[in-house]
Structures are given as C-alpha cells and as structure tokens.
Symmetry: C2
Subunit: 271 residues, 2 copies
Amino acid sequence: MTRQELIQRIQQQRSYLCVGLDTDLNKIPEKFRSMRYPLFEFNKAIIDATRDYCVAYKPNVAFYEAYGSDGWKQLEMTEAYIPETHFKIADAKRGDIGNTSKRYAAAFFEHMQFDSITVAPYMGEDSVAPFLEFDNKWVILLAHTSNKGSADFQLMQEDGVTLYEKVLEKASQWGNPDNLMFVVGATHPESFDVVRKIVPKHFLLVPGVGAQGGDLAAVTQHGSNDDCGLLVNSTRQIIYASSGNDFDRAAAESAAAVQQEMSRHLSSIGL
Amino acid sequence: MTRQELIQRIQQQRSYLCVGLDTDLNKIPEKFRSMRYPLFEFNKAIIDATRDYCVAYKPNVAFYEAYGSDGWKQLEMTEAYIPETHFKIADAKRGDIGNTSKRYAAAFFEHMQFDSITVAPYMGEDSVAPFLEFDNKWVILLAHTSNKGSADFQLMQEDGVTLYEKVLEKASQWGNPDNLMFVVGATHPESFDVVRKIVPKHFLLVPGVGAQGGDLAAVTQHGSNDDCGLLVNSTRQIIYASSGNDFDRAAAESAAAVQQEMSRHLSSIGL
C-alpha cells in the first residue's frame, strides 16, 4: 500500500485505528479452543466485526510463533484474510546482518503479503536496508517504545541527543516518508514534540493507548501532521472487550467508539 | 544445559565451535531440492558430519521463516535432531514488551527445546527478563555485533561509555553467568579487552570468524577466560565448504580443521 492510499483510507474511514491481533488461546472464548485453527477463527471474527472502524491490522508474531509451525500457519491464514483495503503490519521486531534480514524480508513481504514489518534498530543500517528494497512496502522502526524498559537504553544521551533521536535522524537518511515509519509509544506524550521536529513527515505507529495507559487526545495533539501521520494501535481494549460469546459485538462497539473519537480529533486538526 | 555441562563439553571435545545452520535452498546441493523437507535433510547430514568437532549448533531462524510455516516445521525438526550433548542456540534476535517476550520464550523454550535464544536489547529490561525465568535456559544478548552497521548506534557514547558497554553493564544485573551470554563480533578484536573488564565470567558468542573476516587466534587471546568462555560460530566455511555431493565430507574436514586449531588454542590458555 502506498502512502497516498493509506492517507486516503484514513480520510474515508475517518479513523487512524490499528487493531492489534495479539491473539492468546487463554483469553479467547471457550468455543474456539476445540477448533482446528482457533487463533485464525477468532481473528476472522474480529476482522469481520471491526473492519469498518479501522485502517490497519497488526498481528504480533510472537503470539503465533508460541505454537510453532501450526501457529505460523494461522498467521499466514490471518494475513491472507485481512482485506486488501487495510494496511497489514507484521509486528515482528526483526533485524539481523544484511543477508539474514533479506530472509526475514522474504518471509513477510514475499511468502506472506504484509505491507510492513516492525524492525529493531540496534544492529544499524545494513540490518534495516534490506527491508527497504521492496516497492510499496514499509519498515516501521522502533524509536521510543511504550514499555518501562524503554528508559534503559533509548534515553542514553550523546551531546544532548538521545539514542531514539539518533535512530530517527540516521534512519530518515536510509528511508523516506514513503517507506519508513517509526514506533513512538503513547506512554510518552512529551516525546512527540521532539519526534516531530526530527521527522515531521513520517507516519508514526503508536502503541500504548488503552491498557498501557496512553491518551489518544494527547497523542493526536502532539503527534499528528498535515496528513494525520498516525496509526494508533489498540489491542486488548478491542479484541478482549468481552470474554463471552458476544466478544465480536463487544469488539465492534469498542472499535466504533475509538473511531468516533478519532473522527472528532481529525476534525479538530482540520482533516 | 547448565554452564558446568557446557564447560565439560568444551573440555571433552577440545572445541568451542558452534556450527551455524543458516541453510539456504539456493546454496545446498541440487539433490536436496526435490525432497519434502530439504532444509532439514541437509541439516541432518551436516549434523551427522560435524557433531564430533563442535559443541553447539545455531540455526538462524530467518532462513526457515522465509518459507513460512513449512520452514518453521523444518526448524522444529532440526532442533529435535540436534543431539542432547550439544548446546542448541536459536539465533532469533527477538525482544518485545514483557507479555510478548513471554510468548517468544514459549516458542523457543517450551514448544521447542532450545537451550538459548539470541535477544536484541533495544527495548530494555522488561523485554529481556521473561527469557531469564527458565531453569537451565540462556539469553544471548546482542552487545557489539559483527556487521558494519554495528557502528551506527552501538558505539554511541555517554560519559565515555558506549551503548554496547552499557548493555553489558545493565544486563549483567538482570542475569548472571549461568543464564546470560553476550554476542561480540570477531570483527572487533579490540573490543574483547573492554568486554572482559565488564563481564569477566560470562560466555561470549562470537560470530564473524571466517567469511566475515574475524581471526580465531586473536579472538581466543583477547576473549577467553578461565573456563574458555567462548563459543565461536562458523557457518559458510563449514556448511558450504563444498556445493557438490561431497558437501558432508567437506563440512567434516572444515569443522575438524577448526577443532584442531581450537584444541591448540585451548592448550595455549592452559585448558
């Protein structure tokens, strides 16, 4: 999906919601557990219930990988089921030396048809570049993550510049706003102003709203740009909105409520 | 595998060689390509040929993942085939927020029975800690990697301390020499002296000897400790020693030559 197509989708749906598919066998309704492909069947119902309210889906690969090749098969089935109208994010946080990152890119961009993959920057340019060589595919690079441990290394400073700022600066020379986004956690609203000074044009993928405590209004106020420039992820608040057999209706209601709030925020920033 | 068992294996085999199983369909002999499980069948032959000369095997997950669930099945088969006498490393470079890292740990330590997994430190303590909660399982944390891009962020300095030194310092408070190793590339022999000042006891996993240009004698001289404390990886030099049907004999000869050199180095450091 191109940048222009993504921007159009956001304007048409009046939403910049990404639904996280971190599907956990222990948290989905009982009835799925006896099925041959429980993770996929649950995801299918969630996608059917929420597709009108979001513009992106983001399966976190760990939740499939935990079941080995069988889980991977359900990840493949899930990717294939996500409508072409929606931006597909493989939340994989991969990254390795060049010839190895090429193989990860083959997994997510050739074997499967994800639009984007999250990548960890620790190993530097040659670990990121192979993912940037595909037309209309995206790297979503970790910058300032939403978790407590983000303070351990990401805030290290050299000459007043933090590691995550250095990641933004260096990586924006490797890619451009058409093939590179950054992860900035909603739990650090103060860092969005800093981020936007360095990368005014790039899209940001924002986890941490909802269960992790981030605030959507603050994220939008400090993080948006003229194209919206945000994909805000919500997972637990939507896919586990109910643990009963009404889970899909509850997910739709929860996603619709977020979409309505997002529509208001889009108006408030003139979109 | 415990630290003591690993040290005993090194002394018995007179080797600290780890064979990398970065198995690429385009590089293995023609005859495997028509088989149902070509990556596994090739690995099986390599393991049979080299097991007497090495103490560890390290499949890089990307090379399996490139083929999706079918590749993952062959990774599972490979893990199951590696003898219990050998230390099993999943070279996966994973790392995510706490509840997600737990799922990655489930994949490699419960669904499969790897002894260890490589982890990227960018997201900090809560992304690493879940992997340290398993008895006799190991985290192998990226510190100073062997690739060119390692200079982009790992050498950033705060008050004279580089990022990779900070990773060594912080992480050695999260784990201990019985459950935590570090990756230090053979392409930076000068950094081993620095590393050993910070983590004198920990094992180091050393990639970059052979195809990437690192020197085994220099690595051993600067990086070893009283227990040897090194696992030196070699991949292409061994598994692709010949592209013909004599690939297994060639792999055995190449591994045996490295083992003989390692045996001499062990004698020279009094082991």
